[in-house]
């Protein structure tokens, strides 16, 4: 937020810095606070898995197979007698990692391409956007599947695949914002002073497209978690016996008639996490960029 749209009353509070004003708005947004709180709880639980999980995620209690929740096994056990609560805690490490790393890959690459396309224009723009068009011809999870099929099936390739397949989203948002920022006087001034294109993009344009980028990247983590878990669900990511939310859902699928909890709890874990991130993203969007429609 710049001072351009500040009311006289707000300008009176000149002593309060831009940062603290931002934080006050953040704290006033119920969506952001609720989303961040849930997300923090999930992250803490998952990060502390080695300390708080009652059992090893792969330890099999053969006599306690498909046992419903009780005091001994908080969320019950799966078909091999493994503790579901421990597997959810450890599995979350993988799911969250996939979400964050793939967004880092996708957002970095996508933002760079968007900056180049938007700022340089001309042939660079045409070539980059044609390339993006091609990627967008593979809708949804299909592009990740294609990339995993080409690179080979494992968790690392899942992160690369999910990251690469999200590039178009970031490129389009950053390109759009760059096109409008480019018109501003301070960019023209920087050009007149002889700043190199790279310097202008990184120092002057990037900070001004950071707001929409942040919003899209936040919601991007949610969809990356969903897609990453989907790939493991389909048997292309995390391999047994190690836990991962999507993989756990798939493993429990067979027993849904006799032991629904084996599937419902990992599914709930994904949904709560994704819901929290989407809440946070929606709240941030309302604060940072009310006009951005997704």
């Amino acid at each position: 937020m710049t001072n351009v749209d500040a009311t006289p009353a707000e300008l009176g509070h000149a002593q309060s810095s831009k940062g603290s004003r931002f934080f006050r708005r953040v704290l006033r947004s119920r969506n952001v606070v609720a989303g961040a709180a849930i997300l923090l709880a999930v992250t803490l639980l998952v990060a502390l898995a080695p300390h708080i999980s009652p059992y090893s995620p792969t330890e099999q209690f053969r006599r306690n197979r498909l046992q419903p929740a009780d005091a001994e096994f908080l969320l019950g056990t799966d078909n091999l007698g493994r503790d579901i609560w421990s597997r959810i805690l450890y599995g979350g490490q993988v799911s969250l990692q996939v979400g964050i790393i793939s967004v880092a890959i996708g957002a970095t690459l996508g933002a760079l391409l968007g900056l180049l396309a938007g700022y340089l224009g001309g042939h660079a723009d045409t070539i980059i956007m044609r390339f993006i068009d091609v990627m967008m011809a593979f809708p949804g999870i299909l592009l990740s599947l294609v990339i995993v099929a080409v690179l080979g099936r494992n968790l690392h390739n899942v992160m690369v695949a999910v990251g690469l397949s999200s590039v178009p989203v970031y490129t389009r948002v950053v390109r759009g914002s760059t096109l409008s920022v480019k018109q501003f006087d301070f960019i023209v001034a920087a050009q007149a002073l002889g700043g190199s294109s790279w310097r202008i993009m990184m120092r002057h344009i990037l900070p001004n497209v950071a707001a929409p980028l942040t919003v899209v990247a936040t919601n991007g983590v949610a969809s990356a978690i969903i897609t990453g878990a989907a790939l493991s669900f389909l048997g292309l990511g995390q391999q047994p016996p190690d836990p991962e939310w999507g993989l756990m859902l798939n493993e429990g699928r067979e027993f849904i008639r006799v032991a629904a909890w084996v599937t419902t709890y990992p599914g709930l874990a994904i949904m709560v996490t994704v819901l929290a991130i989407n809440l946070l993203g929606d709240g941030l969007r309302d604060i940072l960029d009310p006009r951005l429609k997704l």
Partner: protein, 307 residues
């Protein structure tokens, strides 16, 4: 209109060309010797590998290989499955109806739920109804397809026993997978319809219509809805793409023998020709869907004149 259609088709040519190049290169982009892709996990001698290289034309220049591949593809020959030796095109043709049935059913359910929830939320803006509707939309977009599929199976097939959990054929086997696939899209549609409605409700012509003294009902139906739903058409193509690709998961869970189920199976079994052929086919289909959406959009929105 025909001029617009022609220019839209012309714009697509470079994209289509690039898609074919990328799909063709899939073989060469995968790490390792392309010959090994065809051999799979079987043992092989250098002589056997050379023979395959020769037979598959892998020793020829890349552009010749591309032209051969595309020449065959244009004649409807996408190669044969490495696992079953069945022509890829035959598999696509056999399975396509099931996937199309599922995708359109999902699109239909998503439109009905999404548009009505969006309209209701907008008409009751800032009331508890609006809040509930938007909470529904948020939950919808936060539900992974595999999770909603399993929940629907659990509830309707295992607990209530009113609908079959797996298989294909007949409406009763279509309801669960299509609903699972529709929920995410219904959520995003509801949000979009709501914001589009709110925008239109604030415009002058709505005020004019109201001041003429006609009932609010007629204002909404005749003036607001028609304008608010125009931008929604643009994301129908996106949603159809989503339901097409989401079929990969729903078809696997509900054991429907469609394209998506085969696609996953081929990726898992490293059946390269099937993956490549189906990728090309789906991408082309999606390009066509998007052209169709653009044309429909140009047709229904009187404000757009492309020539």
């Amino acid at each position: 209109m025909s001029k617009y259609l022609a220019s839209r088709l012309l714009q697509t040519i470079p994209t289509v060309f690039l898609i074919t190049v990328v799909v063709f290169l899939m073989l060469h982009l995968s790490p390792g010797d392309p010959v090994l892709v065809f051999i799979g996990d079987k043992q092989s001698t250098p002589e056997q590998r050379e023979k395959i290289r020769e037979d598959m034309g892998l020793n020829r220049p890349l552009h010749i290989q591309y032209l051969t591949y595309m020449g065959n593809a244009l004649r409807g020959d996408l190669g044969r499955s490495l696992q079953t030796n069945v022509p890829v095109m035959a598999q696509i043709v056999n399975r396509l109806p099931w996937t199309i049935e599922l995708s359109f059913a999902a699109l239909f359910i998503a439109s009905v739920i999404g548009i009505s929830v969006g309209i209701i939320a907008a008409l009751y803006h800032n009331t508890i109804i609006d809040t509930l509707a938007m909470a529904f939309a948020l939950v919808g977009i936060s539900m992974p397809v595999y999770w909603s599929s399993l929940l629907l199976i659990l509830f309707f097939a295992v607990r209530l026993r009113v609908l079959p959990a797996i298989g294909q054929g007949g409406v009763e086997r279509l309801i669960l997978p299509a609903t699972a696939l529709a929920l995410v899209s219904a959520g995003s549609l509801a949000r979009m319809v709501r914001s589009s409605m709110l925008e239109v409700l604030n415009q002058d012509f709505v005020l004019t219509a109201r001041s003429k003294g006609i009932t609010e009902r007629i204002v909404v139906i005749r003036h607001v809805l028609r304008n608010a739903l125009i931008p929604v058409v643009t994301i129908l193509g996106l949603i159809l793409g989503y339901t097409l690709s989401g079929a990969v998961i729903t078809e696997t869970i509900f054991a429907r023998l469609g394209i998506g189920q085969k696609y996953v199976e081929a990726v898992v079994q490293k059946d390269f020709t099937v993956v490549q052929g189906m990728t090309l086919f789906i991408a082309m289909m999606y390009v066509l869907v998007n052209i169709a959406v653009d044309v429909v959009y140009a047709f229904i929105d009187p404000r757009i004149r492309y020539d």
